[in-house]
């Protein structure tokens, strides 16, 4: 059995696969680097797979917390792992958009699914899950309900500030001026979409465009992003665990090379 662990800034994910590339166990915990999240995710994935830790032949850790997690056999970046996971799930993928808790990446793949080029957001929360979390808090709704809230938007609202902190003030000001929560939610999605589309334009977005990471669960962001880039986006099943799947695939590959 082979284990992939993806320790993000806001969640920990673990995936266990066998040599036939079947997923035997998977888990997502909404606490990330520097918490018990990684251990809990690994424990839950092992339980789902019905195996003990001793049965793991090789493990690969990826994500923001990869450098400080010392229980894996190897560490690989989330860019490489998301690309591998996405290409495995959707072989026709040529562009992967991964929006996580505190960063956003656009990755170009060649026809063999290998990373050809990539861009990452700068040291700023704009265009990331963190931006949406801040917006959800102001709108007094859970992050999971932000998308459904935006479905009832009736008027387009533009959040002009890129900076998350300034955008927060801007949104508070809009709400106090009578703007509808639904419209603001949609504006937040559009803000993330614009930022990520701009990032993608630096390296070009070749079809098929695939989206991974926790923010891919937000249909409002996906729709806004599709509109922004003018292309259809395929959201992978279980987008949060794609990095961990990629890590598990690398674990299998590395173990095969070693044996």
């Amino acid at each position: 059995m082979f284990l992939g662990i993806d320790i993000g800034s806001s969640s920990s994910k673990a995936v266990i696969i066998n040599a036939q590339l079947e997923i035997l166990g998977k888990a997502v915990f909404n606490t990330g680097a520097g918490t018990q999240g990684p251990e809990k995710a690994v424990g839950a994935a092992l339980r789902e797979a019905g195996i003990s830790g001793d049965e793991i032949k090789f493990s690969v850790v990826t994500g923001y917390g990869r450098m400080t997690y010392d229980k894996a056999d190897k560490q690989i970046t989330e860019i490489t792992c998301h690309a591998r996971g996405a290409a495995h799930m959707i072989p026709s993928a040529r562009t992967v958009i991964d929006i996580g808790g505190q960063d956003a990446k656009v990755i170009r793949l060649d026809k063999d699914g290998k990373v050809e080029n990539f861009v990452m957001n700068e040291k700023c929360a704009a265009g990331t899950g963190r931006f949406l979390e801040v917006m959800a808090r102001i709108l007094d709704c859970s992050i999971g309900n932000l998308s459904s809230l935006s479905e009832n938007a009736s008027e387009e609202i533009i959040i002009s500030n890129t900076c998350t902190v300034f955008a927060e003030s801007e949104v508070i000001s809009q709400l106090s001026s009578g703007a509808k929560r639904e419209n603001v939610a949609q504006g937040a999605h559009k803000s993330v979409a614009k930022r990520v589309a701009g990032l993608g334009s630096r390296i070009g977005l070749a079809p098929d465009v695939v989206m991974t990471g926790g923010v891919a669960l937000n249909k409002g962001v996906v729709a806004a992003l599709e509109k922004e880039i003018g292309q259809k986006i395929t959201v992978v099943e279980n987008p949060q665990i794609i990095g961990a799947i990629g890590a598990a695939l690398y674990a299998l590959e590395t173990a095969s090379k070693l044996s």
Binding site: M67, I76, T77, E78, T80, V115, N117, F118
Partner: protein, 376 residues
């Protein structure tokens, strides 16, 4: 510790403790020191005056006072230089030369008299039309003015022979450094990205004659050893400079070797020689006229991209790492032009936006490692 390790340790110590090293050099040579702001200054004239040219390329100082004079959208090198001036860290220098290559440097020239009055300022303006006769003539006049200022500080007249001797020394230094950067790929473990950088950086804080002797000895000692197998990734690095420690450590950890560089802080200082004809000041002025591929010097033919492509091909590099100094307009304006050319040539590129004070290098580490995984 063998001789190679001894020399490297000494140079690394010098690079890591500039003020201490400069004061030691002043004591050793009995010379006064003159600070040189980036990017090019007439170091040969300073040296000919019997003074010690010292490079001032920022550092790791926290910025508290500089905000009074420079906005947050000025590059970190200049903000830190002003901060260090305001904190009195340059008080032991007899003067600073500030050339106005960019808008920020122009502002610093204006502010320096008020902000750091205790450190004498010699402002300089290099011609952007540096290749035409009028540009060369103008630069020679600028050099003559600076020469007079330096003569006052040194309390001696600079003769043509002083200048020629200084040029001979600096040409030897430049040739030696070109040889040094060329052998990096043969000793890529000993001269990893961080060590290579610190060895080159030490030159800014030592007497060039003594520094050049050290580098020659280091190369002689290295050549006695069998070549080291280069099993990492070979890159050409471009930009203003490649710092901090965390950035360089990430390159080393990912076995990324700098087989050549196009950094303003490194090879751009020594890749162009003086011409053999003319007076000393003419030869120095033509060196600036002949120096291409630098964003700080106007180049209507835009040769930077081809220069990078040539460096990649000559050194069989796997790609180019762009260390983009945040808020450096000249470099940022240059980037889209050479990016297009590198992409057309199919050369992988890693773009890193850097600052001299980077409290968190996690994202940069991820980018560097991802690039290494990509080109492997």
């Amino acid at each position: 510790m063998n001789r190679i390790q001894e020399i490297i340790a000494e140079l690394v110590e010098t690079a890591n403790h500039p003020a201490k090293a400069v004061k030691a050099s002043m004591k050793e040579t009995g010379k006064k020191a003159v600070g040189c702001f980036p990017y090019y200054t007439p170091d040969e004239i300073i040296y000919a005056a019997g003074l010690l040219p010292v490079g001032l390329w920022g550092g790791q100082t926290d910025i508290k006072l500089a905000d009074k004079y420079l906005q947050s959208f000025c590059c970190s090198i200049m903000r830190i230089n002003v901060e260090q001036g305001l904190k009195g860290m340059y008080d032991f220098l007899s003067a600073v030369i500030i050339p106005a290559y960019c808008d920020t440097l122009k502002c610093i020239c204006d502010n320096w008299h008020v902000a750091v009055p205790q450190t004498y300022l010699i402002p300089m303006v290099y011609p952007q039309h540096r290749k035409i006769a009028a540009g060369v003539a103008y630069l020679i006049d600028e050099y003559k003015r600076v020469q007079k200022e330096l003569e006052t500080i040194a309390g001696k007249k600079i003769t043509e022979k002083d200048l020629e001797d200084s040029i001979v020394l600096y040409e030897d230094y430049r040739k030696t450094m070109r040889q040094f950067t060329a052998i990096v790929s043969k000793y890529s473990k000993t001269l990893n990205a961080k060590t290579r950088h610190l060895i080159i950086k030490a030159a800014y804080f030592m007497d060039k004659r003594l520094y050049t002797i050290k580098i020659k000895e280091l190369m002689e000692e290295l050549k006695k050893l069998p070549e080291e197998k280069l099993d990492g990734i070979k890159v050409v690095v471009t930009g203003i400079l490649a710092e901090t420690d965390a950035l360089l450590d990430a390159f080393v950890q990912n076995k990324i070797v700098f087989v050549a560089d196009d950094l303003a802080h490194e090879s751009r200082q020594f890749r162009t020689s003086v011409r053999s004809e003319g007076t000393a000041l003419e030869r120095l002025a033509y060196r600036i006229a002949d120096h291409d591929g630098c964003s700080l010097l106007y180049d209507e033919e835009k040769k930077h991209g081809q220069l990078l492509i040539d460096l990649v091909r000559e050194n069989h590099a796997d790609g180019v790492v762009v260390c983009m100094m945040k808020f450096c307009n000249p470099e940022e304006f240059d980037y889209p032009i050479y990016k297009k050319e590198l992409e057309a040539a199919g050369i992988p590129m890693l773009y890193l936006e850097i600052e001299q004070k980077m409290d968190s290098a996690e994202q940069i580490r991820t980018r560097i490692q991802s690039f290494a995984e990509m080109v492997k």
